[in-house]
């Protein structure tokens, strides 16, 4: 038994050495007159960036008044309320749920910070939207910040069976931003579950009829009104662009 354990430890060490070697090999070649000399920010710089509570200054992107004017506080009817949303809701006004915008602002700032950090580290970000009214808007904003959007019918297995579907090794996104977490028939978007399955972090605007449990960074708020969607798109675009700008700066490109 001991022998076997020793053997496994030994093989692991060898494997690690091989890994180190393979990681070390491309370095000399890349330093010699290559314009893409450094493709990754050094680990120490990355750690310093993470220590700052708000490195990309995302807190000044919006105010609570902006949220109010974009009608983020409007929820659905009381009858369609998901009880898991209760902590984010201020109350019910004549049958309609109203979000607590102070809480929404807190969660949104947190989510914007995450989006900026993922963009800074060169992650792939994918926007989701399943309302036909706002689909083009989301696609446009995703294009403007150089990221991706999926606003059409979700074929099952795009994440979970990617290699078969795309007939190649596929890099999945590192962050999914759901601008609404429901699909067109008011059940949860399959990609919410699939991202959790594949270990992808998610940010999601959750309305009063949504389930926030599987979303890593939920943002309570109205997910139907075009003005509100446009506000979210603008904010996430700005946060991502700030992250990318810092990345460019640190890579000295």
């Amino acid at each position: 038994m001991l022998n076997i354990r020793n053997f496994t430890i030994l093989t692991e060490k060898i494997c690690q050495n091989i890994r180190l070697l393979s990681a070390a090999v491309p370095q000399p070649s890349s330093t010699s007159n290559n314009p893409l000399a450094s493709t990754e920010v050094s680990q120490t710089v990355k750690e310093d960036v993470l220590k700052h509570p708000d490195y990309f200054n995302v807190h000044n992107l919006f105010t609570v008044k902006d949220l109010f004017e974009a009608r983020v506080h409007y929820g659905h009817r009381e009858g369609s309320l998901d009880n898991k949303m209760l902590p984010y809701i201020y109350g019910s006004r004549l049958g309609y749920t109203i979000f607590d915008l102070d809480k929404t602002a807190e969660y949104l700032r947190h989510a914007l910070n995450i989006a900026a950090h993922v963009a800074y580290r060169g992650g792939i970000i994918l926007f989701f939207m399943r309302s036909p009214q706002n689909a083009h808007l989301v696609e446009r904003y995703a294009k403007e910040c150089g990221e991706f959007a999926h606003t059409r019918f979700w074929r099952g297995g795009i994440f979970t069976n990617a290699e078969k579907q795309f007939k190649a090794v596929t890099r999945l996104p590192d962050l999914c931003i759901f601008l609404n977490t429901l699909n067109t028939i008011l059940t949860q978007h399959t990609a919410v579950r699939d991202s959790a399955k594949m270990g992808i972090a998610t940010i999601g605007i959750v309305d009063s009829n949504c389930n926030p449990n599987l979303i890593t960074y939920p943002v309570p708020g109205n997910d139907d009104t075009p003005i509100a969607i446009e506000l979210y798109c603008k904010l996430f675009k700005e946060a991502i662009l700030r992250g990318k700008a810092k990345r460019k700066e640190h890579l000295e490109l």
Binding site: R19, L50, K51, K84, D174, K197
Partner: protein, 169 residues
């Protein structure tokens, strides 16, 4: 790459940490969001089985809702409200005048009906129209389902349409 697809167990972070701890996943190959999550964890753990909080939904009411209710009970047809205009709506103007009238009296000196009448008079004078809004609460038009039904019945009786007449020609 090793992964755990059991999304109902733990969180994405706990599953990734487990894989790293058991050396199924190398520390260098950890997901891109892993360090970010560790530095900025979400306010609530994103667990599938997070219990539903036991919070009562609060009803939002304001002081002036009572005045608003009196106004709308007695005036059913007050027209449409332009939501984008900055000018105060008819209801808002009524509430303003009602409260200002109420402030002129001491507590309990004027009855609700009296205050309502005075506020309506002021509003009507402001508008320059003699009687648009009925001042008397009793005069106010009562809109109810049974009332509407009776009215419709009355109309039908007045017209006295018989099917025979329709198909005569």
């Amino acid at each position: 790459m090793a992964g755990s697809r059991l999304e109902k167990i733990g969180t994405i972070y706990s599953r990734a940490s487990g894989l790293i701890q058991s050396k199924a996943l190398n520390w260098e190959d950890r997901p891109l969001w892993y360090d970010i999550y560790a530095a900025f964890p979400p306010k609530e753990e994103p667990r599938f089985d997070r219990p539903t909080p036991n919070i009562q939904l609060k009803q939002i009411f304001y002081q002036e809702d009572k005045i608003r209710a009196i106004f709308h009970r007695n005036n059913k047809k007050i027209g449409a409200v332009h939501l984008n205009s900055k000018a105060p709506s008819l209801t808002q103007r009524f509430i303003e005048t009602y409260t200002s009238v109420n402030q002129q009296y001491k507590d309990g000196e004027a009855s609700e009906e009296q205050l309502y009448k005075e506020a309506i008079d002021i509003l009507n004078r402001q508008r320059g129209v003699i009687t648009v809004l009925p001042a008397e609460i009793e005069d106010a038009e009562e809109v109810s389902l049974s009332g509407a039904f009776k009215e419709a019945q009355k109309k039908q009786e007045e017209q006295s349409i018989s099917i025979k007449d329709i198909f005569k020609d």
